[in-house]
């Protein structure tokens, strides 16, 4: 293995270059960074407009964000958009008016937010264990999401496209008669994609969080990125070896994107709460990535043990599939 590994690595790197994977990764890096820096953080993220009907003028010192209306009908009309929240204090006790979002937790949040604007000075105090401004929070959030998407989807496609090329050329079968360790064939590709993903992660993090904040979270982020990169590369490897052509692979890719990663994004991004999501392995990887960006770690030893086991099992599965592919008709 020692003798041939550098050759396999160089050959895979040349294949990677010819498949333009690195250009794709560079393009993604530029696109994501431009979007984060020039669009996302400048988006007006005022959440729910709050309207107040207070005919007796009993509420003094309300937040300047609150919009006063003159009639109850007007208040109801403003809240009919399904987004805004109204407060009716005509009967002294504040009564919240809104169109329900359909999600109980979101409705609670909207009501609490609206009521908090009635007396902004009496805000609670909390023990601050870290500091985030709104922009930094947004940067961390969107960067973690883009990175997760890039590693889960684009990396997965990248390795598969290289392997399909090798399959089409028939050279995988040639390796069946060479004195080559099959593990070296797999590890070489994993190493290259891991390296590429880690460089991508480092650049994306530092560019979009800034050098200081980026370097601060980078070790934890790199660990999560490494885990996700290895898992996705092995899944991509297995699918590419097992499926006959790229068309079927693309179909599988769509199924993966729609049915596997979408629920993860929905639960991770909104306040929708599905209990079954705890059994979804990608959800834990997504949250692991997000927590790494916010420098909070909820993952324990069992998480890392499960990831390690998954990587070993996937590696064995890929080894088995590769042996089968090498034995195909010569």
């Amino acid at each position: 293995m020692r003798r041939s590994f550098p050759s396999i690595l160089i050959k895979d790197f040349k294949l990677m270059l010819s498949s333009r994977f690195l250009f794709l990764a560079l393009g993604s890096l530029i696109l994501y960074s431009c979007y984060i820096n020039f669009i996302y953080i400048k988006l007006d993220q005022d959440i729910y407009p709050v309207y107040l009907y207070d005919p007796m003028k009993t509420q003094i010192g309300v937040s300047s964000e609150v919009i006063r209306v003159d009639t109850l009908e007007d208040l109801q009309a403003q809240c009919a958009d399904g987004h805004s929240v109204g407060i009716d204090v005509s009967s002294n006790e504040p009564e919240v008016i809104m169109v329900t979002s359909g999600i109980t937790s979101t409705d609670y949040f909207r009501a609490a937010y609206a009521l908090s604007l009635l007396s902004p000075e009496s805000s609670y105090t909390a023990e601050l264990i870290g500091q985030n401004d709104k922009e930094m929070k947004n940067r961390r959030e969107i960067t973690s999401e883009f990175l997760f998407f890039e590693l889960a989807a684009v990396g997965f496609l990248g390795l598969a496209s290289i392997l399909f090329k090798e399959k089409q050329m028939g050279v995988i079968r040639v390796h069946g008669i060479l004195p080559v360790n099959k593990s070296a064939f797999i590890i070489s590709k994993l190493c290259l994609f891991l390296l590429s993903d880690l460089v991508f992660t480092g650049l994306l993090t530092v560019i979009n969080l800034g050098v200081s904040a980026g370097l601060n979270v980078l070790p934890a982020v790199l660990i999560q990125a490494g885990i996700l990169s290895l898992i996705m590369a092995l899944v991509g490897f297995f699918c590419a070896v097992q499926l006959p052509d790229f068309k079927q692979f693309s179909l599988l890719y769509l199924v993966l994107a729609i049915f596997i990663t979408t629920p993860v994004f929905i639960v991770g991004q909104t306040s929708i709460d599905w209990n079954w999501i705890n059994f979804h392995p990608m959800y834990h990887l997504f949250m692991g990535m997000k927590n790494a960006y916010f420098a909070t770690s909820s993952a324990g030893g069992s998480y890392y043990l499960a990831c390690g086991l998954a990587i070993v099992l996937l590696f064995l599965l890929v080894h088995w599939a590769l042996t089968g592919e090498m034995a195909k008709e010569g």
Partner: protein, 281 residues
């Protein structure tokens, strides 16, 4: 070199592909393995090259079981596939350097010498394989098979995709390998290759060896011992077929000029059909 006894193999339960093959190949012999598609010759070759495991029966190569020390075994064999499997984005030189890296340095042959021997166009040495003709790719594939100076060479349709002069060159190279003591296991549909190159041939059909002998003896065994003579008599072109016994005392009929005399010996293909009941395609 190769000893195979009662070799059976099944891809699925109750679907046996090979039904107890028994044959042996001596050191330095060119052994032809002839059969139609689906006859089991590729499966046999995969078992012999160590790609496929799970067979029953004995397979002994280099005086040891084919499954023992696969790495050392693979360092001693060379395989030419029917199709030229190469990295199309790399040049011939890069392909051969890559494949050579798997073999011990002491076994490696000089890539430039190999390509020169195979009459490879030097202008294309550093161009990507994607720009090569099929014949050029086949030459690079042959160079790959010979890279490690193999003691045992498996060739699958070696002259496929080559023009007549290329086919002659390949046959010459195979014969030179034999002279060096290399054993050659040749799988082919091409009866000309088999007839010209092989010391012995085995006809395989439906997973069984139907006949095994030298091409000459196979033909002799089934010869009808007839001679066909084309001649001119009274200004007219005539053809006569004689039994060899009739021919012993000279030509037993009047003639003005003999145009040609041919023995009506069967071809190897005739023999294949005779033993297997079908053609090679």
């Amino acid at each position: 070199m190769i000893k195979v006894k009662d070799l059976t193999f099944s891809y699925q339960k109750n679907k046996e592909i090979l039904h107890g093959l028994t044959f042996s190949v001596s050191d330095g012999e060119i052994f032809g393995f002839l059969g139609p598609n689906g006859s089991g010759k590729s499966t046999t070759q995969k078992i012999l090259t160590g790609i496929l495991s799970g067979h029953e029966g004995e397979v002994e190569i280099f005086n040891q079981s084919a499954t023992v020390n696969l790495k050392e075994f693979k360092e001693k064999i060379g395989v030419l596939f029917e199709f030229p499997y190469l990295y199309s984005n790399l040049s011939a030189l890069d392909n051969l350097k890559y494949f050579a890296s798997f073999y011990p340095v002491k076994n490696r042959r000089d890539i430039y010498e190999l390509l020169e021997m195979l009459d490879f166009k030097k202008d294309y040495l550093k161009k990507p394989v994607a720009s090569y003709s099929k014949g050029m790719r086949q030459r690079v594939s042959m160079a790959r098979a010979l890279l490690n100076n193999p003691q045992l060479l498996f060739l699958d349709e070696p002259t496929s995709g080559l023009d007549p002069s290329g086919a002659v060159l390949f046959r010459k190279i195979i014969e030179e390998e034999k002279k060096k003591g290399t054993t050659v296991f040749l799988t082919t549909h091409n009866m000309v290759d088999a007839d010209l190159l092989c010391d012995r041939v085995a006809f395989i059909a439906d997973g069984e060896i139907k006949a095994l002998d030298t091409p000459k003896r196979l033909k002799e065994k089934n010869s009808n011992h007839q001679v066909e003579i084309d001649y001119l008599y009274l200004g007219k072109h005539t053809t006569a077929t004689l039994e060899m016994t009739e021919f012993n005392g000279g030509i037993p009929f009047p003639y003005e000029e003999i145009i040609s005399i041919h023995s009506k010996e069967p071809t190897l293909e005739d023999m294949f059909i005779h033993y297997t009941g079908r053609g090679l395609t």
